[in-house]
Amino acid sequence: MIVPTKHTHFSESLLGFGAYLLGKVDSIKSIDSLWNEYQNDLSKSQYVAKHSFDNLLLTLVFLYSIGVVEEKDGGVVRCN
């Protein structure tokens, strides 16, 4: 689900996960490092919803489709 619903919390939606990931893209980031940072935050309960790696990829596709991130040298960067 891109947007939250009655049974999908904001943190479980791609929109919520996207907002979180966007906060992590402060410089050029590889997919692996984003996944590792998320796993780290999840283990410390700094992000509450569990997402699969597939969801992370879907979320990045979503962020790319709305024009907030782009690919640079094999990594993810924010659009200016």
């Binding site: 619903t5 009655k6 049974h7 479980e12 919803a49 569990k50 969801n55």
Partner: protein, 303 residues
């Protein structure tokens, strides 16, 4: 052990066999043989003399065992065939009398190829043995499960105590959810955002006290369902809602009240057994509370 305990023990044993290569497999074999055959004696490899091609034997019968446990038998069939012959020739040179010869191999339940079977039969005929066979994981399993319960536990490990398990059986939940997801229906209805009073909704939908009791007690365990759903968060909660809603819309054409409730339970249960039905009612109570199934009560002035 009852049938269920025995089935779980067999699964544990199979896992052990799949993980056991080399010495680990030989240890399982030796332990089993010590329990199963009183006169069995294992032979430990010793310095530069090794085990003289004998991993274990029953002296009074002249029965000898050689054990072989490669990581992947299919990758080493040439070595395997060679090993049977060289080990046997080495054995008869150093031990006598050899009446029976068993080559024990960890085939990981895949079976052995025709060459090996023909070779061992050839050895049996040439050396006039009473018996010669390749014993595989299934033979060892049969040997293990002919033992006393305490001996089986010693080999496979102790079974988990069901009373120590949590309130909700997650394997059953998983099975029920997989079953619901596989139901072949496709009707669409937008989810309602109304969350009415649980008890009021029970009355409004003409559900009896007994059914209400089932729903109420199941609702206590919705916390475990939510926990499960949040750990498997690939929008499964929404998909589950859709499926439940579809079944509800279909069944409400034919039934109402308790009959409707129990028909939905039976539709959603993979088997007509209490464990599944109870789990289905937990799932139903979650979506009952949020008005995704059954009708929401009208207030005065509403249509």
């Amino acid at each position: 052990m009852n049938v269920q305990e025995r089935s779980v023990a067999r699964i544990l044993f199979k896992n052990k066999i799949h993980e056991a290569n080399g010495q680990a497999f030989e240890d399982i074999f030796t332990q089993t043989m010590y329990y199963a055959h009183e006169g069995f004696q294992s032979i430990k490899p010793w310095g530069n003399i090794g085990d003289r091609k004998n991993d274990g034997y029953i002296k009074s019968e002249g029965t000898y065992y050689q054990v072989y446990a490669p990581e992947d038998i299919t990758k080493s069939y040439v070595d395997f065939v060679k090993k049977i012959e060289t080990d046997f020739i080495g054995l008869v040179e150093q031990w006598s009398p050899v009446n029976n010869f068993y080559f024990v191999v960890n085939d990981k339940y895949r079976g052995v190829n025709a060459d090996c079977e023909q070779l061992i039969q050839g050895l049996k005929d040439t050396y006039k043995l009473k018996d010669a066979k390749i014993l595989t994981a299934k033979d060892l399993e049969n040997e293990v499960f002919s033992l006393e319960d305490d001996q089986i536990f010693r080999i496979v490990g102790f079974l988990p105590d069901p009373s120590n398990l949590k309130n909700m059986d997650f394997s059953i939940l998983n099975e029920v959810i997989s079953h619901i997801m596989g139901l072949p229906i496709d009707l669409k209805k937008e989810p309602s955002l109304v969350v009415p009073d649980f008890n009021e909704k029970i009355k409004f939908n003409d559900l009896s006290e007994v059914t209400a009791e089932y729903l109420n007690s199941a609702f206590v365990r919705v916390v475990y369902l939510n926990d499960y759903l949040s750990n498997n968060s690939d929008f499964i909660a929404d998909l589950l809602r859709d499926k439940l809603n579809e079944v509800y819309l279909q069944e409400k054409e034919k039934y109402s009240g308790d009959e409707l409730f129990w028909n939905i339970v039976n539709q959603l249960s993979p088997k007509k057994q209490q464990v599944y039905q109870v789990t289905v009612i937990v799932i139903m109570s979650k979506y009952f509370e949020t008005c995704d199934i059954f009708e929401e009560p009208f207030k005065e002035g509403e249509e």
